[in-house]
């Protein structure tokens, strides 16, 4: 059976970084003036070379790509012949619009996977069109790479691709993160969650016979986690629960029939939604009425942040009121494989110190099942 891989390069990705810009979106001319060199194509070629060297020839592998610097040139350069060009950029320089236009066409080609080369900005552009319809894998080449779809290096990305083609890896939720532009314009460098896509993950296995294991889907693991959270809600009936953002918690909320805001924080009391998409101020107000509260959160993005990325509403004031001991961290085992260290960056030295002193967190990874995970507080 043929495997169809979409391949898209954002040729200008990463150019801003070397010259001290926070991205290349909308500032390409400035970047070029400052002497920025294209790096995305080099990174894409590195990945392709590595992939060719580690993988046997797959006659059934078809590359669906864009013309010129958006993919075809690099595939040519490494001698990949089995390809089909589905989009040609119009102008001399490409932009976010080209990424989006190509993504729209990719949707019609029944792809098994879409590989893109870029950073968080590129990932976001693709996400706005593709959503969860095609699994994504990013070759890291951008200025910012907080999203959970990137391989750690170009080599690692090639390895993931090979393992995916050999059906050793599976598909699960991954977050699209990027700089919060509104805050950035106010001079603050904060990253937020923009959406959930399908990424490539390590499957979780359960022992079913003495010598063989069965791979369980990510959703089955989340099902167990939902059971766990349901028990907690029943056990702590007079407590308020703050459900944070992310794919895992969204799944749990749906299972519990709670209408949840995917990207925000919702307050739940006795299994009922009492406030939606709350900000810091609203949480503090709620805590006056419901002083006993627990926070349910899961690590998001590529770096395993549990606080300080994507959930800025959980300010130091909120966490101090609720208490560190009332934070329930929940994660699928497949997620922990990629983020074996959890990170905290609350912006409050004293609070960060409290986490640092603890050094470790118990993370719930299954029904009534938890394990110790290392915690780091230095920010990136």
């Amino acid at each position: 059976m043929s495997v169809k891989i979409g391949f898209l390069i954002n040729p200008i990705a990463g150019m801003g970084g070397r010259v001290g810009l926070k991205g290349t979106d909308n500032v390409l001319e400035t970047a070029v003036k400052l002497g920025a060199q294209p790096i995305a194509r080099l990174k894409a070629e590195e990945m392709l070379c590595e992939f060719s060297s580690i993988s046997v020839n797959h006659p059934d592998l078809v590359w669906i790509t864009c013309d010129g610097d958006m993919g075809n040139n690099e595939l040519e350069a490494v001698g990949i012949k089995n390809k089909q060009i589905i989009y040609s950029p119009t102008g001399n320089t490409t932009s976010a619009n080209d990424t989006k236009a190509a993504s729209k066409i990719f949707l019609n080609h029944h792809l098994d996977l879409l590989i893109f080369c870029g950073g968080d900005g590129t990932a976001r552009d693709i996400f706005t069109i593709i959503d969860k319809k095609i699994p994504l894998l990013g070759i890291p080449a951008g200025v910012k790479m907080h999203s959970g779809v990137f391989g750690i290096t170009t080599k690692a990305t090639a390895k993931i691709l090979q393992e995916f083609i050999n059906k050793r890896l599976t598909v699960g939720d991954a977050e699209i993160m990027d700089l919060d532009e509104e805050l950035y314009r106010k001079g603050e460098w904060k990253v937020r969650l923009y959406g959930i896509v399908k990424g490539i993950i390590e499957p979780t296995y359960i022992q079913v016979g003495k010598t063989y294991f069965e791979s369980v889907s990510d959703d089955e693991v989340k099902e167990e986690l939902a059971e766990h959270v349901k028990d907690e809600l029943e056990k702590y009936q007079d407590w308020m629960f703050l459900f944070c953002s992310g794919g895992t918690i969204d799944y749990i909320a749906k299972k519990l029939n709670i209408k949840h805001t995917l990207l925000g924080i919702d307050a739940i009391y006795q299994k009922q939604l009492i406030a939606v998409d709350v900000n810091e101020e609203q949480i503090l107000q709620l805590l006056k009425k419901y002083p006993k509260a627990k926070i349910l959160l899961s690590p998001i993005g590529a770096q395993g942040f549990i606080l300080g990325r994507g959930n800025l509403q959980l300010s130091p004031a909120v966490i101090n009121k609720i208490g560190i001991e009332n934070i329930i961290v929940i994660a699928t085992p497949s997620k922990l494989i990629h983020t074996p260290i959890l990170r905290v960056d609350t912006g409050d030295k004293q609070l960060d110190h409290c986490f640092a002193k603890q050094g470790y967190l118990m993370v719930v990874i299954g029904y009534r099942l938890s394990r110790v995970v290392k915690l780091q507080t230095n920010s990136f």
Partner: protein, 398 residues
């Protein structure tokens, strides 16, 4: 009138089996025509047995066979009932007394199988508001036992005492009872749990300790007395669980510990209370096995001589045998396909050893797991080493 079938109630049986076959993960049962012996006839072919748990070759020992026959003659073929009602024969209680003496514990209790011991006892030791802390590589029967409880569960990194301590510290504040549970000898890698350190940590936090010593019983410790004897902490592990089906060469689960533990266990374990007791022949053989271990130390000695020789020679051939400290000797091959190929070729050459592949072990750590036996001669081992060497080179493993 035609009968309308609502649904095909049995269709899934074939469907699910076919799926296993399609993925090559169904069990192809090998049939032994000879009894489990160092040289066995498997599927019609004579092979050197390197994958049985019959470490001391006691399953063929004349005293065990005699013990079984005599017990059957005296007590009959079956026991007639569950232990609790009318199925406790004098010979059952004799085995328990002798076992406690052998294990140097206050008391002991026999279960139908090791699985029955784990799945029957663990759910009684902890309940709601308690926590079970478990090594991440524990055997499936422990995991099943733990799943039957309402207790929370936490995992610590394999044999990592600082990880265990972190979990204990966290659990100390939140739970009523804490149970630490671990394999004694880990069945995939053949390494040993640091039981002395686990007991020390457990005492610090007031936690209970439970060790599944299935692969250590009859193998490690003075005269094969198990993990308690291995670390010289007999009687200090709260629950020493084991089995008669491996080195002892018979069948049956066991626990050894205090009289309080035994009284509690047989009154509460549903597996013990609700399945029939061992046939007398089983108990007769169990008694004889303890006799043999107490009076014929050469079996354990030979097992270790064989183990040391085989490991040393494998290593000098260039094979990686991992971190094994016991007769479980993994021959690490790397790739899963290669491990399967090596196992098949070994069988063709007359050696029966099973491959262990991903996801039971890491992707690049697929292996042949050889189980050394006291009944193997030097000639047998040299024969096996010669084949390992030849095929290892052929498959570019060494």
């Amino acid at each position: 009138m035609t009968q309308i079938t609502k649904r095909n109630a049995n269709k899934f049986l074939k469907d699910e089996y076919d799926e296993l076959v399609k993925n090559h993960i169904e069990w192809n049962i090998c049939v032994l025509e000879s009894g489990s012996k160092p040289h066995s006839i498997v599927n019609g072919k004579e092979v050197i047995m390197m994958c049985s748990n019959n470490y001391l070759n006691l399953s063929n020992h004349p005293r065990l066979i005699k013990g079984a026959i005599e017990a059957a003659k005296k007590y009959g073929a079956g026991s007639g009932s569950v232990r609790a009602i009318a199925g406790t024969l004098k010979i059952h209680t004799e085995v328990e007394k002798r076992l406690a003496k052998f294990k140097r514990t206050e008391s002991a209790l026999i279960y139908q199988t090791g699985f029955a011991a784990n799945s029957g006892l663990i759910p009684q030791l902890v309940g709601e508001g308690d926590i079970v802390i478990s090594d991440e590589l524990n055997h499936g029967s422990i995991i099943d036992g733990v799943r039957l409880t309402k207790a929370d569960r936490a995992i610590f990194k394999h044999r990592d005492m600082s990880d265990l301590e972190r979990v204990l510290k966290d659990a100390d504040k939140k739970y009523r009872r804490i149970l630490i549970i671990t394999d004694g000898v880990f069945s995939m890698d053949g390494d040993i749990a640091p039981m002395d350190k686990i007991v020390k940590l457990a005492n610090e936090f007031g936690a209970m300790t439970y060790v599944d010593d299935a692969h250590g019983e009859g193998v490690i410790g003075e005269d094969g007395r198990g993990i308690g004897a291995h670390f010289h902490i007999e009687g200090k592990i709260d629950v020493e669980m084991g089995t008669f089906s491996k080195a002892f060469g018979v069948v049956g689960g066991l626990i050894a510990g205090s009289q309080d533990l035994v009284n509690f266990a047989y009154n509460k374990s549903r597996t013990w209370l609700l399945s029939g007791s061992h046939p007398p022949a089983v108990s007769g053989a169990q008694l004889a096995a303890i006799d043999v271990l107490e009076t014929e130390p050469e079996h354990v000695r030979r097992l270790w001589d064989n183990t040391k020789y085989f490991k040393k020679e494998l290593n000098s051939l260039g094979f990686n045998t991992g971190g094994s400290e016991t007769p479980i000797t993994p021959v690490i091959v790397g790739d899963s396909g290669k491990a399967k190929e090596l196992s098949n070729k070994l069988f063709d050459e007359g050696i029966f050893a099973l491959p262990i592949v991903f996801p039971m072990v890491a992707r690049d750590k697929a292996r042949i797991r050889t189980m050394i036996n006291a009944g193997l001669t030097k000639k047998d081992l040299d024969f096996a080493l010669d084949k390992f060497g030849k095929l290892g080179k052929q498959l570019s493993i060494i």
